[in-house]
Symmetry: C2
Subunit: 232 residues, 2 copies
């Protein structure tokens, strides 16, 4: 019988935000895959090993997923990663694939799972705390109340979004488009907050679009709320 | 010194989806508040006690938050609830307030925290797994990929939403407006999934708007994806 591939969210950074289910599954599974070339240097590993020290003694599979805008290269990487995972699954071994945040929300793991599923293997997902929930908690701020819609945008892909729909916005992964995104935020008339590296050692909180540096890190999360709402 | 009020997410139903932080905080805190009249009958308590059996021996504060559309009555209930919490905070006691899902996403706890903060007390939030992440994991389905926006709507307040913006939709708490919401879903041309009571004993999964019963329960979560996307 083939093994099962589990996509397991480890949350956004603080190991205490891992779920019991993630901890138990990592503990019970011998093969752990991580997105990256050097397993022990990946963020996902470094989060998980703090909650599950036994992780250091497991078989760690590196699955390189370099960021690239070359779609063909991306596909090649996904196929190679999936082939590596399948080489263990067909030996009947279960695999836990560690993903940052939640595996259903903008996770590169999604691409691997699609291939593995279409090749006939069984897969499952274990939810993790999303970066936007953690950032809101850090700010002690509700993301959405009562009748407010909540819009989550991968901002680097939507640098010209107007943010004019009713409700609140979460902008993820603004990264290299940060200066453009800041302009949108300024003209949106919204209350703006940003948390960089939420729950990690180098965490930083910003209030107002003006405060946000153009070179903010990859793990930066922006919350843009309708004005007139009281933050706590 | 006054105590601190912690809004702690217990996730959507499966106690294994509680975070280590929630478990530790519940274990270490003597006063636990729950939304409802009979603490041990509330959903939040019943989730948490499975992960932290010691909860049964704690001081349980019932904070009634009946669903009502009478804003004045709602405000009175919030004020009463906040006053109860403050009576312990001013004795220097910390309180953990259990919330379903995540305390930043459509949580009635938000209203209590606002009052308690404006009365000068310290508060903090601990993230929980949201119902929409758990439902997507249950369906083995990504909520959002690559450049797709994700829109989260409290559906009972937006029964005439068109669902025409690019990206995917999560509809929460459609409840009493379910028959109207089903009509929108049908005319949206989207792939529709619903999970009722996700992670609980009476969980039920539906595919397609037609399958959804008009009298689906309060804990029903709908995912409406752009067509042409492959679910796993």
């Amino acid at each position: 019988m083939n093994g099962i591939l589990y996509g397991v969210g480890v949350g956004p950074g603080d190991p205490e935000l891992m779920t019991l289910k993630a901890v138990h599954l990592i503990r019970e599974t011998e093969i752990i895959a991580v997105p990256g070339t050097e397993p022990k240097e990946t963020v996902a590993y470094q989060i998980a090993v703090q909650a599950v020290p036994q992780l250091a003694e497991k078989t760690l599979l590196p699955v390189p997923m370099p960021m690239t805008h070359d779609r063909e290269e991306m596909r090649r990487n996904h196929k190679k990663g999936a082939a590596l995972l399948e080489s263990y699954l067909k030996q009947g071994k279960n695999i836990v694939f560690l993903t940052l945040g939640d595996p259903c929300v903008y996770s590169t793991y999604t691409y691997l799972q699609k291939i593995v599923v279409s090749d006939g293997y069984q897969t499952a997902l274990v939810s993790g705390i999303t970066s936007f929930c953690a950032a809101a908690a850090r700010l002690n701020l509700p993301l959405s109340e009562w009748n407010e819609p909540l819009h989550i945008l991968p901002a680097a892909h939507h640098p010209d979004a107007s943010l004019q729909a009713p409700g609140n916005y979460v902008l993820m992964k603004a990264g290299r488009k940060m200066s453009q995104v800041k302009e949108i935020l300024k003209s949106s008339g919204r209350d703006v907050y940003m948390v960089e590296n939420c729950g990690m050692e180098n965490e930083h909180v910003y209030h107002g679009a003006e405060e946000i540096p153009d070179n903010a890190g990859y793990y930066s999360l922006i919350i843009a709320k309708e004005q007139g709402q009281k933050s706590f």
